[in-house]
């Protein structure tokens, strides 16, 4: 029995490598996309604002699973064929980027005018003001919402199993079918819980770190 659990754990762990890769790529690029999207949304350039509003409306308003199907099964119809991993990564980045755009925009807009005025009378330009004064303060304010998204992403990553990507969940599913045992699912659940707990801990540490100044 113990050997079996160890054996299946190893198998599921292999699958979770794909989950980790997807998680990492999505986390990095969707945050970058979110920052750029948020800066665009507050830029007061009407066309850019409209485009970004359309973007967040579409990607927050439709199921992630639909978007995943669209990228993997839909795009080939248009002559664009993606391998499962790039299709999944692209979908997740664009989807999470939409959420981060709105979260970061809200964070930036919550910083009072006084901070911009103080920076301006000290001679700072827009770029300096944003990068040194506004965004660092925004980080603290968006941490709780970002933490939620970070945990959602762990769970959402399991959706890629449906386009045949061999992730953590799919590895468990294969083992369940092969061995006719429920244990692989339990192991998968434990894995997800461990990953989520690590992320929660990381964000709690970050929040502690940023709490020094207020």
């Amino acid at each position: 029995m113990f050997d079996y659990i160890l054996n299946v754990s190893g198998y599921v762990l292999e699958g979770s490598l794909v989950t980790f890769q997807l998680y990492l790529v999505t986390a990095i690029f969707s945050v970058i996309l979110g920052v750029l999207g948020a800066l665009g949304k507050i830029s007061k350039i009407p066309l850019l604002e409209s485009i970004l509003s359309f973007y967040t409306w579409v990607f927050r308003g439709t199921p992630l699973l639909l978007q995943l199907f669209f990228a993997y099964y839909g795009l080939p119809v248009l002559g664009i064929t993606l391998e499962p991993f790039p299709a999944a990564a692209l979908t997740f980045i664009v989807n999470y980027g939409a959420y981060f755009t709105e979260i970061f925009r809200g964070g930036i807009e919550s910083i009072g005018d006084g901070q911009y005025e103080a920076a301006k009378v000290l001679g700072m330009n827009y770029r300096q003001t944003m990068s040194r004064i506004i965004i660092p303060q925004t980080v603290k304010r968006v941490l709780p919402a970002t933490s939620n998204e970070a945990i959602n992403l762990v769970k959402d990553s399991a959706l890629v199993a449906v386009i045949g990507l061999g992730d953590l969940l799919r590895a468990a599913k294969v083992a369940v079918t092969r061995d006719f045992s429920i244990i692989p699912f339990i192991i998968a659940a434990v894995f997800y819980l461990i990953i989520s707990s690590v992320i929660v801990t990381v964000f709690r540490k970050l929040e502690e770190k940023y709490s020094v100044y207020e």
Partner: protein, 240 residues
């Protein structure tokens, strides 16, 4: 030093500054008093480019504000009613930020002058504190030091003590008095009449977007000519 000629500013329908003209010489200390809504803050904010004037001419050290873009503001510092310190930076961080980022000073240079300034405002022991850990009076003194760190020729104060508890007003006024003795040109919007009387070379009395009196403090406080000023002073003094 500062020359304003027929400046006008409106927010939509509301005319906040109406044909305001004045001159300020090097080293002069000007207090601006008057009822709320008379345009005092808007006047200061226009000088440093936080508000754009609709018409008129404004020269800072001979440079036209409109044409120069940023240049004319470089020699001015401003202190706000609400302090506007950077909450994510320590007191030292607040002081060295602009000298390093805007002027390109080294951290060493910036820190050295920051230490001197903190000594001047009496807050050397608070250099590693965050703004949230300071009292209102201490915050405002840090804000003054932060503005001075850019070595301005002109300092603008927009009601620097209005959001302070009464017992903290004195420490801030003492610092500003000290600057007046150093010959820095200053324009101060204030409701502290005693302070305005002592510290100022001239007092502007503003009402409805106009400077209706521009004279030495004795004349305004001891012997006000207009009934409008008399009424204002009686009202203010009866509150204190």
């Amino acid at each position: 030093m500062i020359k304003a000629k027929n400046i006008n500013k409106s927010f939509g329908e509301l005319e906040v500054l109406r044909d305001v003209s004045f001159d300020v010489q090097q080293g002069e200390v000007i207090s601006i008093i008057g009822p709320s809504g008379s345009g005092k803050s808007t006047l200061l904010r226009s000088l440093i480019g936080l508000e754009e004037i609709n018409s008129g001419k404004l020269f800072i050290e001979g440079i036209s504000v409109k044409k120069s873009g940023k240049k004319a503001y470089e020699k001015m510092g401003m202190v706000f009613q609400g302090f506007n310190l950077f909450p994510h930076k320590t007191v030292m961080g607040n002081l060295i930020e602009a000298p390093i980022v805007v002027k390109g000073e080294t951290k060493g240079e910036a820190k050295k002058r920051a230490e001197e300034l903190l000594n001047k405002v009496g807050l050397t022991d608070k250099k590693d504190s965050y703004p949230a850990q300071l009292s209102g009076g201490q915050k405002q003194r840090v804000a003054i030091a932060r503005a001075l760190a850019m070595e301005p020729d002109i300092m603008l104060f927009d009601e620097p003590t209005s959001s302070l508890d009464p017992e903290l007003v004195g420490e801030v006024l003492t610092v500003i008095r000290g600057l007046a003795d150093e010959n820095i040109t200053m324009m101060i919007v204030t409701h502290e009449m005693g302070f305005a009387k002592d510290v100022s070379d001239r007092v502007f009395f503003m009402d409805h977007g106009k400077i209706i009196s521009d004279t030495v403090p004795e004349k305004i406080f001891v012997n006000p000519e207009s009934e409008r000023i008399q009424n204002f002073l009686t009202k203010i003094l009866s509150q204190n």
